[in-house]
């Protein structure tokens, strides 16, 4: 891909070609524009943030900082797998399922909002080199990367223990406070005069869950069925006979259809 065929803009996004290293024969194109959303987050102020898509898997925060550093001072670089707010960061850490090793999205937060304007005017002729040679900041990929990932799996047991202990102390404290708080609020009517009933109240309630509701419904249904008499009146027994024949007919008809299908699939050729 020669540089001059690269358009500078696609669908409102600026285009910047990047390459992994000097030796790479081909690279990718990053697309970016001003970050604009209805509900902005504190970490990504809309006026001085760039929204970058198609960030290759091996590209890290440092690369992006270098790439956009030319437009002004960068305050922070946020890499995400998906656009928008990162949800369930805690869950993701404990039960990782999200894919984070593919192409990513980046938010570049500049120190100054003029940098965004400058970035939007920038034209790139030559592909930007993500991992320049001889530089200590070269990106590690492939076998070496996996080796270091393997190493990172192991943590000193003492530190691990400390982390767990610290959390639990904090957690117990929080729980205790909540409990105390609940005790204080127990039986106290709110502004509208309503008293919240909890499990710990003097008159405890059953926790509301779907399973319990279903069980209750099934119980009632069973009760109702038990009361009903079967084949008591003549019309009932006649009805049930009629139903039986209808059922047989239906089955027969279904079977016939299945056979037709099987025949169509040449299922009856024994050898």
């Amino acid at each position: 891909m020669s540089a001059h065929t690269v358009p500078h803009e696609v669908g409102g996004f600026r285009v910047v070609p990047v390459k992994f290293s000097e030796k790479s024969s081909a690279g990718h194109m990053l697309y970016y524009k001003e970050h604009s959303v209805k509900e902005s987050e504190d970490t990504k102020p809309t006026d001085r943030t760039l929204f970058v898509v198609n960030v290759p898997p091996y590209c890290n925060e440092e690369c992006l900082q270098r790439l956009f550093g030319g437009c002004g001072g960068v305050e922070s670089v946020i890499l995400q797998a998906k656009a928008g707010k990162e949800l369930d960061a805690m869950l993701e850490e404990i039960y990782p399922i999200r894919k984070t090793r593919g192409f990513k999205i980046a938010y570049i937060v500049f120190k100054d909002d003029s940098s965004v304007v400058r970035a939007m005017k920038q034209k790139y002729k030559e592909p930007f080199i993500l991992s320049p040679e001889g530089d200590s900041g070269g990106l590690v990929t492939g076998y070496r990367k996996w080796c270091s990932e393997y190493e990172a799996r192991w943590e000193d047991p003492k530190q691990l223990q400390k982390k767990a202990d610290d959390f639990m102390i904090e957690f117990d404290k929080r729980k205790h406070e909540e409990k105390e708080q609940a005790k204080v609020e127990e039986g106290v009517p709110d502004d509208d005069g309503w008293v919240t009933v909890t499990r710990k109240s003097t008159k405890p309630v059953v926790a509301r869950s779907e399973r319990k509701q279903k069980r209750l419904q099934a119980k009632e249904k069973k009760k109702r069925e038990e009361k009903e008499l079967m084949n008591f009146y003549t019309f009932q027994s006649r009805e049930s006979k009629r139903e039986h024949i209808a059922e047989l007919r239906m089955k027969f008809e279904e079977d016939k259809q299945r056979i037709t299908q099987m025949r169509a699939a040449r299922k009856f050729k024994p050898y």
Binding site: L91, W154, A164, R258, A265, R266
Partner: protein, 1141 residues
């Protein structure tokens, strides 16, 4: 069976994958036409009511009846075809009736008087024929047999025509000394001479034999323009000779003449000789008998057709002395005479009664006779028949044994199949129809072990050894058939309890051209034996005989020859015993082959090397070069092991670990259950790890973490998998209701347990937040604590109303699968392995096959295990395989034959599902078909979700793509393997063929550096000698945890899949594959409008359109393959040039 299986498919035809194979299309149920209400509830007519009631009572479902009708329509001869054949058959008859006479001037000088290009269909050294022989036009030409009865199969269509040789051709006493047979052969030659010229009617003329009997040749005519064969059977009129002459104990061959010596004449009985003449005299009478039976009996035709299909699928009609359509028709006629069947019965009932009759009677000891004549003085008694024939079923005349050629073994085989057939019909959960009639039960698929005696000639000397000279005369020199019963007897005695069934098959020699001499005796079809092994006993290495110095002991040692030796047993007794080689499990499985080779060599003089034994041909696939020999110091080459010993060691280590865990002192909560989840623990790991590992010079992670770290990029550490174990703790109210807190408590448990295991049990352990790694007996285990409440908390969703609901999500599913379903499945599958020793090896072969075709990442391991479990729990119409080789054959067949689109596969563990459960699941399945996975597996604990096939195999972008490929590969591998197993087994046959993947469908091939492949020694064609790594000595007393679960290729694949998931599919052989192959997802390559969130790896298209379009950046992606796999990738081969598809 599908058409495609029959074709010789080349490996290369896999190339067109992506296309649907014919027949899979249009299988989706057409829109249901429901009966409307008025029709459904209209008053029933009497006939309708009766038929509905009948189907309900007689058949399990109306489906069965309908299926049978369909099958009958498929196999029976169509009226239309019959009409087309009529004029041809008439003109053929006409020709035969007007044959010009022919005279052979002197029988003693035949050579000169034979026509050119027509040979005699029989070989004889000497004959009593002398002087002039007149050959005249036939007395009578009649169509007989199934064609006339309407019970003949459409394909292959054979029409029997009896040609009666006129009496002028005979002289009195021609029944003696093969004179009749020789004249019959001359008559065949006479018929052929004239028919050969009729090119307008007859496409080709050849000779064949009547049920493989070389004494009674027949003529086979292929008709012009019709797919039909006319079989001309020269025969005698009913009154040709006196029947009483051919009673089984009468002699009709003079020994003096036969042996050309002047010994005293002894007149030994010649039952088979008599039978061959008597059969020629009875053709017409039998036809009449059957015709009377079938008259006004519509089910006769149905039943015989079905039974013929049943026999054909079992190859019972194709072996000499088997059970052909004629015999089974006679059985039906007999049952009708007997009143066990009546004329108002339905076809299915008749079939069932016939099967029942075969099962409950014993023709080998209490023969059956159809003869009703009370004239017991002249008729031979049943005892007389039993003296001369192993199986007795006498025809209505009272002289002819219809089972004269049947051996005891074949009869047992027939009975065995009938027994199975009855069971299938009775079990409502099995598709009895499919089992009985639609599945071929060939020798190669039915039996665990097969062996073929390749050089029949070496059976000749054993005739003398067994003292069967007179029988040889009786059979006209056909020594294989004379010796066969004795060989069977010896085999049965030698194998004893080891086998459930012995079957033998001397397949009919096919037809031969009229201008070549008839095949020699030794050129008969291969003599094949099938063994159905008895799971537990077959692999015992010891045959214990009687106590020493008794008469029985003498007989025993005589029977076993030098192999028998005196041994002292643990209980102090000294007995004769035979010990067979069996140091490894795989070798033990082949004990029967040693027995067969030894005993046949000893008693029948058959050279061991001429027995082609099929049993352990696929074992090399499971062997991996030993990392270290288990017997140190021994110079002896250790027997090749198939990993089964390692799996046992793992079981022992696992038990030890769980005992340690349970016995931990001072743990805040007791451990309530320890459950393994790794395949190795349920004996289904393809290549289980060996105890210990080679020493290396890798550095460790740190002083407090005794873990080795891979760092040297010259060579990757050996592959050592961690075996997973899940622990549940006793329930306690103290667990918090918070996921993060639970996580930290679990971490604390892991740390504590690791510490205790190290201190109390002296194990090397390392704890991480999510698990403990522990070394037990040289195996690495990964233990993690699970808490059931976690799953609930993950699932819990609270609605606005404050109602708590449980909804599955990705995280909860993963956790539930790992800690709930998988341990349960492991125990179930482990149970299957305990019952069926071949289960583990079969799964391992199956997994190896899937991986070889680079599909292992696209199918869960559990899915393969369940499929194999199905083969063992529901083997119908076979029996549970005892040899892994048969197992893998069934596995491949299951993949390509099962109708995945419209039927769920039931794996009924412990028979927990009832017939009504089956119906319910089926119903649900049909209703929700479009939302369910391509392969739907139902088990008692997983009825509606098919847990193990939910995500795979089903790629999202191209639906069914991988699945279709799997099916196609299975179909081809099945064809190849079946051919290899049924053909002559020799060293040249390459059984690894089906384990080599065809590479032509792939767009890109990424080649990997061998040194960085930790499992390279597991590759199908790995060369053990060049591996320097394998020569290293193991270190069992490790102080450090080795590098576990580290496979760079897997790391690479994860990254590739995450980055290019929507553009390409990646394939790799998990077990040492040195390539990764890539297929572009075609739909993703169409230029698409630019969307910022879907712009991954895409570049603006050069095409000029108003909306900016983007296409995948192929060059960039290929470069990424290189960049992301730095160190591992050696080269990238781009195979398709055209990107824009």
């Amino acid at each position: 069976m599908d058409d495609e299986v029959g074709e010789g498919v080349e490996e290369s035809s896999v190339a067109n994958f992506g296309k649907r194979p014919p027949g899979i299309k249009n299988r989706l149920p057409s829109k249901k036409q429901k009966l409307n209400k008025a029709e459904l509830y209209k008053p029933p007519t009497m006939t309708e009511l009766a038929s509905l009631k009948e189907t309900e009572m007689l058949y399990n479902s109306s489906l069965f009846k309908l299926q049978m009708d369909e099958l009958r329509m498929e196999v029976e001869l169509k009226e239309k075809k019959k009409k087309g054949l009529l004029p041809i058959l008439q003109s053929l008859e006409e020709i035969l009736r007007k044959l010009p006479p022919m005279t052979i001037p002197d029988a003693s000088e035949l050579e000169g008087s034979l026509p050119k290009n027509v040979c005699l269909p029989m070989r004889w050294k000497k004959t009593q024929l002398k002087g002039e022989i007149k050959l005249r036009k036939p007395l009578e030409v009649k169509i007989i047999g199934s064609y006339l009865l309407g019970t003949c199969l459409n394909d292959p269509l054979t029409i029997d025509m009896a040609v009666q040789i006129p009496t002028e051709c005979f002289q009195p006493k021609d029944y003696l000394n093969f004179r009749y047979h020789h004249k019959r052969a001359l008559y065949c030659m006479y018929l052929v001479k004239h028919l050969k010229k009729k090119k307008d009617l007859v496409k080709s003329v050849s000779y064949g034999s009547l049920q493989g009997d070389h004494m009674t040749p027949v003529i086979l005519l292929k008709l012009v323009g019709k797919n039909a064969t006319v079989r001309l059977i020269p025969c005698l009129p009913e009154t040709g000779f006196k029947e009483a002459r051919f009673a089984p104990s009468k002699n009709n061959i003079r020994q003096q003449w036969y042996n050309q010596n002047s010994e005293e004449e002894t007149f030994p009985p010649t039952p088979h000789y008599n039978f061959s003449i008597l059969r020629d005299m009875s053709l017409e009478r039998h036809l009449h008998h059957l015709y009377n039976a079938s008259y006004d009996f519509p089910a006769f035709k149905d039943a015989v057709l079905l039974l013929k299909v049943w026999l054909h699928q079992r190859e019972l009609d194709q072996i000499c002395g088997g059970c052909n359509g004629f015999l089974i028709s006679m059985v039906v006629a007999h049952l009708l005479d007997n009143g066990q069947v009546n004329k108002v019965m339905s076809g299915q009932q008749v079939v069932k009664n016939v099967l029942h009759f075969i099962v409950t009677t014993d023709w080998a000891s209490k023969g059956v006779t159809m003869c009703k004549s009370s004239n017991s003085q002249t008729l031979p008694g049943l005892e007389e028949f039993h003296q001369h024939f192993p199986v007795v079923f006498v025809d209505p005349s009272g002289y002819l044994n219809l089972c004269a050629d049947m051996t005891g073994t074949t009869y047992e085989h027939l009975k065995h199949e009938a027994k199975l057939g009855l069971d299938f019909l009775d079990d409502k959960r099995i598709d009895g129809f499919h089992c009985l009639f639609m599945t071929p039960v060939l020798f190669t698929r039915k039996f665990d072990h097969l062996f073929t005696i390749t050089k029949l000639k070496q059976l000749r000397p054993s005739v003398k050894k067994f003292d069967l000279e007179t029988q040889l005369m009786d059979r006209g020199g056909n020594y294989p058939r004379v010796v066969l019963p004795r060989v069977e007897e010896i085999l049965r005695q030698a194998l004893g309890d080891r086998i459930k069934l012995l079957a033998s098959g001397l397949f009919h020699s096919a037809e031969w051209p009229v201008n070549s001499p008839s095949p020699k005796i030794e050129e008969q079809g291969p003599l094949t034996f099938g063994l159905l092994l008895n799971g537990g006993l077959a692999s015992s290495v010891l045959d214990k005989g009687p106590a020493a110095n008794t008469t029985e002991a003498k007989a025993f040692s005589e029977f076993w020859g030098k192999k028998s030796e005196l041994r002292r047993f643990q209980d102090g007794s000294i007995c004769e015993a035979v010990v067979w080689p069996g140091t490894s499990v795989a070798e033990k499985r082949l004990v029967c082959s040693h027995i067969v080779r030894h005993i046949l060599h000893l008693h029948a003089g058959i050279k061991p090397e001429s027995i082609a034994y099929t049993g352990g041909q696929l074992d090399p696939i499971l062997q991996q070069p030993l990392l270290h020999p288990s017997s140190p110091g021994g110079d002896e080459e250790p027997a090749p092991r198939t990993g089964e010993e390692e799996l046992l060691q793992i079981s022992v280590a696992y038990t030890k670990l769980s005992r340690h865990l349970r016995e931990l002192k001072d743990l805040p909560l007791m451990i309530s259950s320890v459950q393994g989840t790794s395949p190795a623990i349920r004996h289904t790991e393809v290549y289980p790890p060996c105890a210990g590992w080679p020493s290396d010079r890798l550095r460790t992670a740190g002083p407090s973490v005794p873990v080795k770290i891979p760092s040297n990029d010259k060579q990757c550490p050996t592959w050592i998998p961690a075996l997973r174990v899940v622990c549940h703790l006793e329930s306690s109210g103290k667990w918090p209701d918070d996921l993060e807190a639970i996580h930290h408590i679990k971490t604390a448990f892991h740390l504590k347990m690791a510490d205790m295991l190290h201190k109390q049990c002296k194990l090397v352990t390392v704890a991480t937040a999510s698990h403990i790694l522990a070394i037990v007996d040289g195996f690495v285990f990964q233990v993690s604590v699970a808490h059931r409440r976690e799953i609930v908390l993950l699932k819990e969703v609270i609605t606005k109303e404050g109602l708590s609901m449980l909804r599955d999500n990705e995280r909860s599913k993963v956790l539930e699968r790992e800690t709930g379903h998988l341990p349960h499945l492991t125990s179930l599958l482990h149970g299957v392995h305990q019952h069926h020793g071949a289960f583990g090896p079969t799964v391992r072969l199956a997994k190896r096959w899937v991986a070889s075709h680079l599909l292992a990442d696209h199918m869960t391991s559990e899915c393969i295990e369940l499929l194999v479990a199905y083969l063992f729990l529901h083997p119908e119409p076979f029996t549970s395989p005892v040899s892994p080789q048969t197992g893998i054959l069934h596995f491949l067949n299951l993949l390509c034959q099962h109708d995945w689109e419209s039927t769920p596969l039931f794996i009924n563990f412990n028979n927990d599902l009832t017939a009504s459960d089956y119906d319910e699941i089926r119903q649900q399945f049909t209703n929700n078909r479009s939302h369910l996975p391509v392969m739907f597996l139902a088990t008692p604990t997983d009825r509606q979700t098919s847990l193990w096939t939910q995500d795979k195999p089903t790629p999202m972008v191209i639906k069914d793509y991988i699945f279709q490929r799997l099916i196609e590969l299975a179909r081809e591998s099945f064809t190849v393997l079946q051919q290899q197993l049924s053909g002559p087994i020799s060293a040249e046959v390459d059984f690894k063929q089906i384990f080599r993947p065809p590479l032509d469908p792939y767009d890109v091939v990424i080649h990997l550096r061998a040194k960085l492949l930790p499992r390279r020694h597991q590759a199908v064609d790995a060369d053990p000698t060049t591996e320097s790594l394998l020569t290293l000595k193991p270190t069992l007393d490790a102080k450090h945890l080795p590098v576990v679960d580290f496979d760079p290729v897997q790391c690479y694949l994860v990254e590739l899949r995450e980055a290019f998931e929507d553009l390409a599919l990646f394939f790799h052989d998990t077990y040492g594959g040195d390539i990764i192959t890539v297929v572009w997802k075609r739909p993703a390559f169409k230029p698409q409008p630019f969307k910022p969130l879907q712009a991954q790896a895409r570049i603006p298209s050069t095409s000029s359109s108003k909306v900016p379009l983007v296409i995948p950046n192929i060059e960039g992606i290929i470069q990424d393959f290189q960049t992301m796999g730095r160190g591992l990738v050696t080269s990238i081969e781009v195979r398709t040039e055209n990107w824009n598809i």
